[in-house]
């Protein structure tokens, strides 16, 4: 095994609780009602709605068109009838638009043999057009993949990193996808190579990724004429953040390079769009947490309510304390089980109190756990003091804007102070 890399300061070791053997990834049941959120997860901007209520839609039919940078094409995840179009506001004042589609009619994608286009004959512009047309999003951030690639046109020899790292104790979807769909993902890498003109592609793997699979991955890459460079990373949160992968990789070389980091799930969506002519209407979702009967990964249609997915995993064994969408350290809380799967949903977790260790907030006792946890070398406890005194300028002088909101400090905090939340608020205050 090549040497295992890691960043230098801070970080937290999370308990590796979940033993998880995944079989082949199965498709989730189709939802009776699919709720498609039209706001981009990264910008919040809404796509232009292209259907009307009562209209019949096919599986994969365009239902909302991108409306400038920061928006995405949206397609109907299921065949059916457009029941409701809502263009309203959230409780917190942010705009939100959704289209609800009720299942009806025949399937054009499900059960059919996937198409295989000979993408090698396509040129760069054609591929870019397909990426835009199929509404492919970067799963980790929700940005439009087309926008990302478009912005990178000018950069010479950018570094591409296939990021299969997941550092929290639950999500294992990315490695599982890489194992299950390695041929497709290698193909997608070849497609990216054509767009980016990069010679080397770095594959970021966790230290426990099976060595035998690495060999077969390299084999596939060779056949596809892609050069893979495998880099192993130590299990230490938040190593999976692009900024920390960048820092770790460029520590020895010292060269500043522009990197593009994409996850296996995004690469699978890219492959499906270009090779199989499929819109981004499916998402691999890890369902887990202590309150779930059986942890598993399901391939779910966008718009499926998370409650359906929990039910398909055997339901809850106890009452969960909190339902989290995505990463338990950075993800958002789901207020109820009607929240729908989006293009950024990688995991849904039902966590019990034994896992969250939540407690009442107490005053800071200066234990110093946050200082040890911070990968950016900040002093979160001191920043918190400034936050409570409303001194944004002072906090900025002490590195507030270097904070990446990874959540390591708030994880470690003895007094359960919502440090990240407070810093986020201070940052938005400072910018306005």
């Amino acid at each position: 095994m090549s040497n295992v890399r890691s960043f230098r300061h801070g970080g937290i070791l999370l308990p590796q609780r979940i033993h998880f053997d995944h079989g082949p990834i199965e498709n989730a049941f189709l939802p009776i009602n699919a709720i498609v959120v039209l706001n981009s997860a990264s910008t919040g901007r809404t796509s232009r709605i292209a259907v009307t209520e009562g209209e019949e839609v096919r599986e994969g039919q365009l239902i909302a068109r991108f409306d400038g940078k920061g928006t995405l094409n949206a397609h109907s995840p299921i065949p059916g009838i457009v029941r409701k179009i809502i263009a309203g506001k959230n409780a917190d004042g942010t705009a939100v638009s959704t289209i609800t589609i009720s299942l009806a009619g025949s399937f054009s994608v499900l059960g059919k043999k996937p198409e295989r286009y000979l993408w090698k004959s396509l040129n760069k512009t054609d591929i870019m057009h397909i990426v835009q047309e199929k509404g492919v999003a970067r799963v980790s951030s929700g940005e439009s993949l087309y926008d990302i690639l478009h912005d990178m046109r000018g950069t010479s020899a950018p570094r591409f990193v296939l990021n299969a790292l997941e550092m929290d104790p639950y999500c294992r979807a990315e490695e599982a996808i890489l194992l299950e769909r390695s041929a497709d993902i290698v193909d997608a890498c070849a497609i990216l190579k054509k767009i980016l003109q990069t010679a080397t592609m770095t594959v970021a793997l966790g230290e426990s990724f099976p060595e035998a699979e690495v060999a077969s991955l390299l084999n596939l890459a060779e056949k596809a004429e892609v050069h893979f460079e495998i880099q192993r990373f130590r299990r230490r949160y938040p190593q999976d953040m692009p900024s920390l992968i960048d820092r770790t990789l460029s520590r020895n070389s010292g060269k500043a390079v522009v990197s593009l980091m994409l996850e296996p799930s995004t690469m699978a969506a890219l492959h499906d769009a270009v090779v199989s002519n499929k819109a981004h209407i499916e998402q691999y979702v890890y369902i887990g947490g202590g309150a779930v009967k059986e942890s598993r990964i399901l391939k779910a249609r966008i718009g499926t309510p998370i409650g359906d997915l929990f039910e398909e995993s055997g339901g809850f064994t106890g009452r969960p304390e909190v339902i989290v969408v995505n990463d338990p350290l950075r993800g958002t809380m789901a207020g109820n089980l009607d929240v729908a799967v989006e293009k950024t949903t990688r995991a849904i977790l039902a966590l019990t109190h034994d896992e969250t260790h939540s407690a009442r907030e107490l005053p800071c006792v200066r234990c110093g756990a946050c200082v040890r946890a911070c990968p950016e070398g900040l002093k979160p406890w001191a920043l918190n003091k400034y936050a409570m005194a409303g001194l944004v300028g002072e906090a900025a002088d002490r590195g507030l804007y270097r904070c990446t909101s990874c959540g390591a400090c708030a994880y470690a905090c003895w007094s359960r102070i919502p440090l990240v939340d407070r810093f986020e608020r201070m940052k938005s205050q400072g910018q306005s």
């Binding site: 960048d246 390079v257 993800g331 809380m333 789901a334 089980l337 260790h357």
Partner: protein, 365 residues
């Protein structure tokens, strides 16, 4: 099973937390002190029970009154209980219950509450309470009694072995223990037989001899404060705190290290000592040094946050404690050493943070 709107409370990311929480840590600290409480009660009977009870009850009651005034109940975090326990641990048994009660009340009311409650206190409340008692009742605080098992009767007064040995400096004996035996300090039969056994079976092979009396020191068959009565239990509790990483190990190690080195070089005013020939074992095991180093100096609120600065803080406490023990006429210098460094902590942090504090991570681009 479906949940409706607002079924789950609003929480912020991160949704996972370390198992250590402030109140959990405080409760564990109190819990590991329990063997000390039990052992001291076994040694002193009612003379110990009244002290523990009055101190803890006074701390809890004062906190309850304060909480009632502020309409914010904090007894659940366990800090008042721990303060009460630590104050009592520095009290001599058979002392008037009024003194520990007053010391605990002072600790909670003046040192903790008036400076902002948990997280705001400028010095360790329990140490401040102890210093308060020393200042107000200097005679009562130095009236020690022998444990019932050793004296055969209840409440036979005696000076602590540390103070006793101090008085014998220059008596011409080569070892402290021999000197205090010579002067007639009581020795238990248990120590005699156990030390004899250890010497015969282990130490004689190594060419060493353990003088009689150390086993008595470790199990509390001597006069001393309640917290000193179970040195073995205190050491065990300290190991638990270190193993669970509830205290910064740098602080107690720096205190004990610097104190031991100085005591080894200059001696602590005990009989039979010479330059480079101080009795380190006796200096460390006598008095409440270990308890204070692990339970009081490590109080995160009044010690430095940064580990490097905490090391310097610990070294300074060790040096001060040595100075007080060697040249002061009050053998329990550790309380004042920690209090002085508690007060100096903000200054220490302000001066040393730019030199030793966390460095910003190097960004690559």
């Amino acid at each position: 099973m479906m949940y409706t709107q607002k079924e789950f409370p609003d929480t912020h990311a991160p949704h996972l937390h370390d198992w250590r929480s402030t109140s959990k840590v405080v409760w564990i600290c109190s819990l590991v002190l329990l063997p000390v409480v039990v052992w001291s009660i076994a040694l002193y009977r009612w003379a110990a029970i009244t002290v523990w009870l009055s101190s803890v009850a006074s701390a809890l009651l004062t906190q309850l009154v304060v909480d009632g005034l502020f309409k914010r109940f904090t007894l659940r975090d366990g800090t008042a209980l721990l303060t009460g326990l630590l104050v009592a641990s520095a009290m001599p048994p058979a002392i008037s219950p009024f003194i520990p009660a007053a010391a605990s009340a002072f600790a909670i009311l003046v040192v903790k509450t008036l400076f902002g409650g948990l997280g705001g206190n400028w010095m360790n409340p329990s140490l401040a309470g102890i210093a308060f008692a020393y200042a107000n009742w200097p005679v009562a605080m130095r009236e020690y009694v022998l444990p019932t098992v050793l004296a055969g009767v209840d409440g036979l007064s005696s000076s602590t072995p540390l103070a006793f040995a101090h008085g014998l400096a220059g008596s011409g004996q080569a070892r402290v223990m021999d000197a205090i035996r010579q002067a007639g300090y009581p020795l238990s039969g248990m120590d005699e037989s156990l030390t004899g056994f250890l010497n015969d079976s282990i130490f004689s092979h190594l060419g060493a001899r353990l003088p009689e009396g150390y086993i008595d020191l470790a199990v509390g068959f001597k006069s001393g404060a309640l917290g000193e009565s179970a040195l073995f239990a205190v050491i065990l509790a300290s190991i638990i705190l270190l193993a669970l990483r509830l205290v910064k190990y740098e602080i107690p190690l720096a205190i004990l290290g610097s104190f031991a080195i100085l005591a080894g070089i200059f001696g602590t005013g005990l009989p039979g000592e010479f330059i480079m020939g101080g009795d380190v074992l006796y200096a460390l095991s006598g008095g409440g040094l270990i308890l204070a180093a692990f339970f009081m100096a490590t109080d995160p609120v009044s010690s430095p946050v940064d580990r490097k600065i905490a090391t310097i803080y610990g070294l300074a406490i060790g040096v001060l404690c040595f100075v007080f023990r060697r040249w002061g006429n009050h053998t329990e210098g550790i309380a004042y050493a920690i209090l002085i460094m508690n007060v100096l902590t903000p200054t220490l942090e302000r001066r040393l943070e730019p030199l030793l504090g966390p460095k910003p991570a190097r960004t690559s681009v």
